[in-house]
Every structure is written in C-alpha cells, then in structure tokens.
C-alpha cells in the first residue's frame, strides 16, 4: 500500500513539475513582466483551480526563461527627486551596479532584482510603496513634501553598420519612465 502511494505521489509530482515548465508561446514574454499586473503568468495547461492550489502550497514554478526568449538590451536605474518643505530638493538614486565590487553585487543581489522589476509595468501601489519608503528612510530632510520616482534606462539602439559594436561604440538612448508622484503634508513626514 505504501509503495502504491509512493508511485502515485511520484507520478503526480513529475506531472506538476513538467506541466508548469512548458513554455506557453504567448506567455513566455509575459512571465516576469506585467502579465495582468502580476509576475506569474497563468499556465494554460493547468486549470485555474489546480494552479491556484499549487500557488497556495508553494509548489508553483513557471517556464524557466533564464534570459529567454531574448535578453534585454538596456541598463536601468531608479531615481527619486525629493522636495523639502523649504523648497530645497535632492536626488536619490538606486545603486550603480557596474561600480560595485563583486562582494557588494553578491550581497545586494536582492536589490538588483527588486529595482530591475520597475523596468516592466507594475501595479501603481508598488511604485507608491517605494516612494513612501524612500521618503521615510532615505530622505535627508526632516519633512519631505514631494517625491517624484522614475525609472531611467540606457537602451542600446540597433546599428546596421556594426550590429555588434564594442562597448565604447554602442549608441544608446536615455529613456525615462515616470513611476510615481507623491505629495505629503509637511507634518506627516517630520
């Protein structure tokens, strides 16, 4: 009886592993991005009820994209313009990864993942939460009245003459995407 149970468990587990990892041709590009404002695209091979159950118990996985279907061609960072109640302003920026040491990149890997997510469209409250966090924890002012959060990216432009340019010959375009503008009462951030 025990062996029968083990066999059933094995078959079920392998099925769940395999079925969740099959790329959905329409969905691959959606995973990890905005798909319905969520990171996790829906699996078209599993019924919604089944996927919901797997999500709940933590046995979900999705197609293993790993720089697929195409690696991105930009380098991005976040910035926040903070304005104080006296009118002065300053700029906060997320870490500039190329300048960090190997150790700092390793330890700060979660930050890299987090900031990278803002490249894709997200639900507004995620950006608002970050704006509030910056005001509470990163602002040098006693009272901050306004924060403007944006994601900036240097996008490599296609070059027909040299499709694979050297690093210093790459032509890039700066793209700035506003994420959130938050106003605060001077008293609330003191």
């Amino acid at each position: 009886m025990k062996r029968v149970g083990q066999r059933l468990f094995i078959v079920l587990t392998v099925f769940v592993m395999v079925i969740q990892s099959i790329p959905d041709h329409g969905g691959v590009s959606r995973i990890g991005s905005s798909g319905e404002n969520r990171f996790l695209g829906e699996n078209r091979f599993l019924g919604e009820r089944c996927q919901t159950y797997l999500d709940r118990v933590g046995l979900w996985q999705r197609p293993w994209t790993l720089f697929a279907p195409d690696p991105r061609k930009d380098f991005g960072w976040l910035s926040a313009d903070l304005t104080a109640s006296d009118g002065s302003s300053t700029r906060w920026t997320s870490p500039f990864w190329p300048e960090l040491s190997v150790y700092d990149k390793f330890v700060g890997f979660r930050s890299l993942n987090y900031y990278s997510r803002f490249r894709s469209p997200l639900i507004q409250s995620v950006s608002d939460d970050l704006a509030d966090y910056i005001v509470s924890n990163e602002s040098p002012y006693r009272s901050t009245t306004r924060v403007e959060l944006a994601f900036s990216a240097l996008e490599a432009l296609p070059n027909e003459e040299t499709p694979y340019p050297r690093r210093d010959e790459t032509i890039t375009m700066l793209v700035i995407k506003p994420l959130a503008v938050r106003d605060y009462d001077a008293s609330s951030t003191e």
Binding site: V14, D55, F75, I123, S136
Partner: protein, 314 residues
C-alpha cells in the same frame, strides 16, 4: 505490459539511487541555504516588514490572491528577524544532519512564506531552493554524516528503496534545462547566435572578469557560446539518463554553470544547480572521490540492492 512498466518504474525509482548521495545533497544544500539566509538578514525589515518597500496589499496584488505567507500576518521587523534567525538555525541543523527531514519541511515553509511576501526580489534560483527543500522532505538525509545519528549511536538502515525522491530532484534539474532550452529557442537572438553578445552588455549582471569580457566582442566566440548553451540545455536532460553519457553530461552542465559563475553575478543560481547535479552521482563516483571507505562492505552497491530486494519482498 502493465507489469513490465511497473517493474521498469520501480527499478528506476526504488532500486538505483544511493542513500549516501542524499546526505551529500543535504550538506551542499544546507551550505547554500545558510548563505541565502545570511544575505537576507541585514535587509529583513526592508524586504518583508510593514515598514519596508512593499505593503502587504501590494504584495498580495503582485503575487496573486491565492499565494499565502506567514508574513501577511507577522509584519513587524522584530518578528521577521526572529523568524529569519530560526530559519538560519534550521539551516545549520540541516548541515549537521539533525532531524533533517523536519528541518527540510520547515525550510520549505520559510521559503514559501518569505518568497510570497516579496516576490519582487526573487528569481529562478528561489524556485529551485523551494522545490529542492520540498523534495528533501522525502529523502533519507541523515543516512550519513549526521551528527544526531552519531550521538544517538543508531545505524542507518536506509536503502535505495528510500531514495526515490532523489530521482525527483534529478527530474527537476532536467526539467529546468529542457524548459530553458525551449524558451530560448523561441527568441530570435538565441536562434541567430547573438544572445550572449547582448547578455555581455548587461552592466548589472555581467562583468565579473573584464578579461573574459573582451572575448565577447568576437562574433565567433559569442555565437559558439550561445548555441553551445542551447545545445547543453537541450541535450543534457535527454542524454544524462544514458549511463554511458552521464559523466560527459555532468561535466558539460557543470562547465556551463562554472562559466556563467565566472562571468556573471547571479547570486546562488549556479551553485544550487551544481548541488542539483550532485543528485546524478553514482556510488562509483563516490568511490572515485574517496567518500567511501574501501572496507565499508556493508554499504556496497550490491549490498544496497540486496537490502532493497529484501524490503520489496517483505
């Protein structure tokens, strides 16, 4: 037909894995999970608390309503630090082989809770850690190199029949490679061979060794590496099951991961995949790397098989 399928199934899952590999896998996983937790501790409040970067309502929206997490209810920085402390302690207990199945179950619970609380900081390696923790619950992790077993003086009587979940670890690793190859083949840059050129320009992830970076200016280099990556990811999960090709496949996969580790900053992904590759090791490999005493006849492969047959017969 049904009987022969059942026999093949049973031979594959219940009669061919060495329980010592499960213990080796436990140790490598535990080392990695300790590093994993240690890097979370300094920023615990920032990532997981109500004073952090992601409110609970946003976290629920990001993950979807069906995901659950302990940290939707425990929200203060102090409670989160305490939970991470317990998580770390359980990683250490797993390393030393103290009630390892229980530790694996708890680690799985912690991983689900922390990952669901803030999915924005996670990526593929977190999924691998979570799935491996789940599968370890069913493995004889304390078969060897276990402090609790040494202190209690009990001798392990686990056999290949108890090591079936190691096959699930192997299948999970194979699924990752195959799915990744499939996803890559859907991308134009992977098909035309330029994907690694573009990856080498990712200033955030790439650039651990500047000397190697220059190689990626040469089209023949990045094209061969791009197609080589797809070839390894597509072929290894198929050919690794052929006994004669197992070692070459392991070498190819390990080379791929070490190559990526040398050039990119991807935290623990390469190492957890290398730990997963350990699951494919055989008793002969263990002997080759001298993890088995020459006179340890009680645990020879033939003895393991004999014990397994006796158990199945009973």
């Amino acid at each position: 037909m049904i009987e022969s399928t059942k026999r093949i199934f049973d031979r594959f899952f219940f009669e061919s894995c060495d329980p010592r590999i499960a213990s080796l896998f436990r140790i490598s996983y535990a080392v990695l999970i300790i590093v994993y937790v240690l890097t979370l501790i300094p920023d615990a409040a920032r990532w997981f608390s109500d004073a952090g970067v992601l409110s609970i309502s946003s976290a629920r929206d990001v993950t979807g309503t069906s995901h659950e997490s302990l940290f939707f209810y425990l929200t203060t920085p102090t409670s989160i630090r305490i939970c991470l402390g317990v998580f770390l302690l359980q990683g250490v207990l797993l390393l030393f082989g103290c009630w390892s199945r229980l530790q694996s179950a708890c680690i799985f619970f912690w991983l689900v809770s922390f990952q669901h609380r803030n999915l924005m900081i996670t990526d593929g390696e977190d999924v691998v850690f979570r799935w491996f923790a789940f599968l370890m619950i069913f493995l004889p992790l304390d078969h060897r190199w276990s402090l609790a077993r040494q202190l209690s003086g009990q001798r392990s009587n686990e056999t290949s029949a108890d090591t079936w979940a190691l096959r699930l670890v192997q299948i999970q690793v194979a699924v990752i490679y195959f799915s990744s190859a499939w996803c890559k083949l859907l991308g134009e840059t992977w098909r035309d061979g330029s994907a690694l050129f573009h990856i080498s320009r990712l200033d955030d992830y790439f650039g651990r060794l500047p000397l190697l970076e220059r190689l990626f200016n040469e089209p023949w280099v990045f094209r061969s590496l791009t197609w080589g990556t797809i070839a390894i990811e597509a072929l290894v999960p198929i050919l690794i099951w052929v006994p004669r090709l197992r070692v070459p496949c392991l070498i190819a996969a390990a080379t791929l991961h070490l190559g990526i580790e040398l050039t990119m900053n991807l935290f623990l992904f390469q190492w957890i995949m290398l730990a997963g590759l350990l699951a494919f090791m055989s008793p002969a490999d263990l002997q080759r790397i001298r993890l088995r005493k020459p006179d340890d006849s009680s645990e020879s492969p033939s003895m393991c098989a004999q014990q397994t047959k006796e158990r199945v017969a009973n």
